[in-house]
Amino acid sequence: MIILWTDTLIYLLVIAISLAIFFIGKQPQMRRPIKKIGASKTGMISLVVLIFFVIIGLLDSVHFKSTESRTHEIISLLDYWAKPLREQGEKTYSAPFSTQLYSKETMTADDGTTQWGYPRLKFGGAHLQNPEAEWKMDVFTKALIGFGKGAGLFALLFIFFWITLHKNHEHFFANPTSKAVWFVLFTLISKTYMLIDLSMYYHVFGTDKVGEDVFYQAIKSIRTGLVIGSLTTMIMLPLAIVFGIMAGFFRGWVDDVIQYIYTTLNSIPSVLLIAASILMVQVYMSNHAEDFNSLIVRSDMRLLFLCLILGVTSWTGLCRMLRAETLKLREMEYVQAAQALGVRRGAILIRHILPNVMHIVLISVVLDFSGLVLAEAVLSYINIGVDPTTYSWGNMINGARLEMARDPVVWWSLLASFIFMFSLVLAANLFADTVRNAFDPRRAD
């Protein structure tokens, strides 16, 4: 097993979040907000979707050296399972569920005659004898079988939980929220199974310019999206919160210094900073080639540095907002009352200011999340984003730019990245909304 830098950080993040949830759950006054999240339909549904994405991302973060191929390349657990997807490439573009290439070519038939037409795909629908006649029926039955398998798996899961939990925890099945959650689980599992089954025979989202399966690319991009979203946030949040609150609370020279820092940082074009740091990393890697001997290690390093530099350049907006809110809060009478009671300044910051700015933090972090994924796309365009070999929605969108200009249009790369990005960002948004509402005691139950 090989642990990459981003893998380590992801594991740490997962551990930190689980610990936080565990300790929050232990406190008696926190049970009410947690119950409130549990009772919210949108919250729970989006949580299920989020967890689904995270599981895929985590599977993609367990790396090891492949024993099968001669090159001993580093692959992840997801790559291992999605081997057919990874290896069954075509020559070039093919549309979703297609059995032939998207563009005409000269083909040499068995009898030696040349023909101008659409050649059959090497893998997509290769099992069909007569694609035109059988294709529709085949896709339909394959989908149905996959759906059936998924439904069966869900049924097994459901029966298992029913037997173990039904007696003592009837609310896991009875109330409308849990019904909705079960329904979403059912849809997710059966649809996933359906896609898996179909993708064994077809390219569900078509293939790209070099014939790679777009579905595979989209799944692989989940990890990149999560890494950029979460690691950047992890770097940005402490900076924004600490500086913002300190500037607002202490005012005076502390405020001046912090304001100068972020005004300076803001006035340097962030693209410049990002380009500089990415180039630096590249130079470093080429000077220490022996440490970065594998393609995936190199692109991982570049991804990590991208997160780092994005984090360093993007904290100023949130910092400014937190400063303004803290300026308002510090004049609140409860802060003055705490001062009069002899509470230490640090305790005032943590107990009175921080909880009352958390709603801003939560909202802007989630909104920034989609912004970061998009920023990555923009940076890929000028070649300072993630490594071109890294799968990312940004790279896919960047490629789609040219594909959209083609005639006939190649639309599936854009669509696939759009669907995946959209569902991740939407789920994150809705979930953050629920969390914010649940943790605000002023909102009625």
Partner: protein, 549 residues
């Protein structure tokens, strides 16, 4: 036959009902905020709708004007304005009623004017909507209105922005805007609640004069019975959405029947309560708990490129007084006189410029850092706004325990919870309150929690910064009672900051009157309130509305 005033008015105005409301009900979801009320307002009279906060009095006025949010369900059998049904007027025609035939003044003159428009423009805007003024006629008309509301130098004021005016002047502008449509009925929703007593008296006087001149009816909405008694011809008392009593003012104050009205009247703090006060036995030779000598808080005024200090705002200017153990000193003055600054300066929440404060033998403002933190428990503060003075995200138990945690970190969790429970009992709240959030409590209950928080560190002196001015009269009476009880039990002293002289009469042993940062009069409460020496104290006392006998 001798008719009461109410009956006389009725005799004279049988056909003269200006506004007739029958069976008005307003509901938000399933809560009936206004429940089947009926009343009439006659032409030329002043009608007062009185009630505590949440009784539905403002909602009643807003529902007549159709200004309620969309989720309010309004139903009424009849709303007639001069025998014309308001219910049948379509929304697009309703602007001919609103602002034209019925004017409206809100409580807060700070937020009801647009800060980026000059006051002239704001008045002219309303006039243009309702009348066809040509451009040349407009300015003189605005000018005339400003004269009518007695704004000094209208020529200059017409081009000024709201922030350049004082609170009282802004309320005058609001009245001018309401009068711009030449209304038959003027609704004044708590028109003077945000203003000082002396300004309040002027505004009320102005409303009376205008009413006399124009003959319009005035619908006054207020929580202040004393104010109403000086203004209104007839009074309706609202409680929980219902009108419980309605009658002429004289009749009401002499022979109110409904228990709620009686309760309201009984809760009114009275200026006479100081006269028969038993003198607390305080040893005059005892060293005073608090000794303040030439206390000053100045704020620098900086000007120019280098921000040189050119002058100071003297918020508190050379103030000296003493406060004895177990007694209450009331600090009285109008807004901006520096009384809150003085209070906060004593608690060391703002830096002081000069002066000595000797509290229980310690000079707090000479201490720093941890030393100051440890000694802070001697003096505590209770704020005016019970909604802003508690962290909305903390449990009440944690709020009260905060001081104990900060100053006595050796006390363990169980003991701390025990002390919190005791404190809640002392302020007459159920023990279960500890596990609830502040927003679940009413204003009065919150103020109790704030008092408990201050008591938690066993202070010698509590600075009460207008603790009752955001509360209803009946709740105010309860809080004052509680404060007195606590003083008797624990011997705590109060520095009671207020603008309400009647409350002073109830609670204080001594009074200090502040004016422009200085204490102009200081003495025993009875002496100051009955035989004021300083002209400012006299004008303050004159301005207080007193129940008409």
């Amino acid at each position: 036959m001798h008719l009461t005033l109410d009956e006389q008015i009725r005799e004279n105005n049988v056909d003269n009902k200006l506004l007739e409301v029958k069976g008005l009900t307003v509901a938000f979801k399933k809560d009936k905020v206004v429940d089947d009320i009926s009343f009439d307002i006659f032409a030329g009279e002043t009608f007062a709708l009185v009630g505590e906060s949440g009784s539905g009095k403002s909602i009643t006025a807003l529902s007549v004007l159709r200004l309620l949010p969309n989720n309010a369900k309004v139903s009424a059998n009849q709303i007639l304005l001069n025998n014309e049904s308001l219910l049948s007027i379509p929304e697009y025609d309703f602007c001919k009623i609103r602002g034209k035939r019925i004017g409206l003044i809100f409580q807060d003159p700070m937020s009801s004017l647009n800060p980026v428009m000059t006051i002239g423009e704001q008045i002219a805007e309303v006039m243009k909507i309702h009348f066809d003024y040509s451009k040349e006629e407009l300015t003189p008309a605005v000018h005339k209105l400003l004269e009518q509301v007695e704004i000094p130098e209208p020529q200059r004021r017409i081009n000024e922005f709201p922030h350049q005016l004082s609170g009282g002047q802004r309320q005058r502008i609001m009245i001018a805007i309401a009068l711009a449509g030449k209304p038959e009925l003027l609704i004044a929703d708590e028109p003077t609640t945000a203003l000082d007593v002396t300004i309040q008296a002027q505004i009320l006087e102005l409303l009376k004069t205008i009413q006399k001149k124009t003959g319009m009816s005035l619908w006054l909405i207020s929580h202040d019975l004393a104010l109403v008694s000086t203004m209104a011809d007839r009074i309706a008392v609202m409680q929980k959405g219902k009108v419980v009593e309605i009658g002429s003012t004289n009749h009401f104050f002499k022979q109110a029947k409904h228990p709620y009205s009686l309760k309201l009247l009984a809760a009114l703090p009275s200026m006479d309560s100081c006269t028969n006060k038993e003198l607390k036995k305080i040893d005059n030779n005892e060293t005073p708990l608090l000794k303040v000598e030439s206390f000053k808080v100045y704020y620098p005024i900086r000007k120019g490129f280098f921000k040189r200090i050119v002058d100071h705002v003297r918020a508190v200017d050379d103030v000296s007084f003493e406060l004895k153990q177990g007694s209450t000193l009331a600090l009285v003055g109008e807004s901006g006189c520096g009384k809150t600054t003085l209070g906060k300066g004593l608690v060391n929440l703002i830096p002081t410029t000069a002066g000595r404060v000797l509290l229980n033998g310690i000079e707090l403002n000479q201490l720093n850092g941890d030393e100051l933190r440890q000694k802070r428990s001697v003096i505590q503060i209770v704020f005016q706004d019970p909604f802003a003075s508690m962290n909305p995200r903390m449990l009440v138990g944690d709020i009260i325990a905060e001081g104990i945690k900060a100053l006595h970190s050796d006390i363990n969790l169980v003991d701390r919870q025990q002390r919190v429970a005791n404190l809640l009992k002392q302020v007459e709240l159920p023990e279960s309150s500890a596990l609830r959030y502040p927003h679940e409590f009413s204003g009065g209950q919150r103020q109790r929690i704030c008092i408990a928080r201050a008591l938690a560190v066993e202070p010698k002196l509590i600075v009460c910064d207008e603790p009752t001015s955001a509360l209803d009269v009946s709740v105010q009476a309860q809080i004052i009672e509680l404060l007195q009880k606590l003083q008797k039990e624990q011997g705590v002293s109060y520095l009671f900051i207020t603008h309400n002289l009647a409350v002073v009469a109830e609670i204080a042993d001594e009074v200090a009157v502040m004016h422009k940062g200085k204490i102009v009069e200081h003495g025993h409460v009875e002496q100051v309130l009955t035989q004021p020496q300083h002209p400012y104290t006299q004008s303050l006392l004159d301005a207080v509305p007193v129940l008409a006998d």
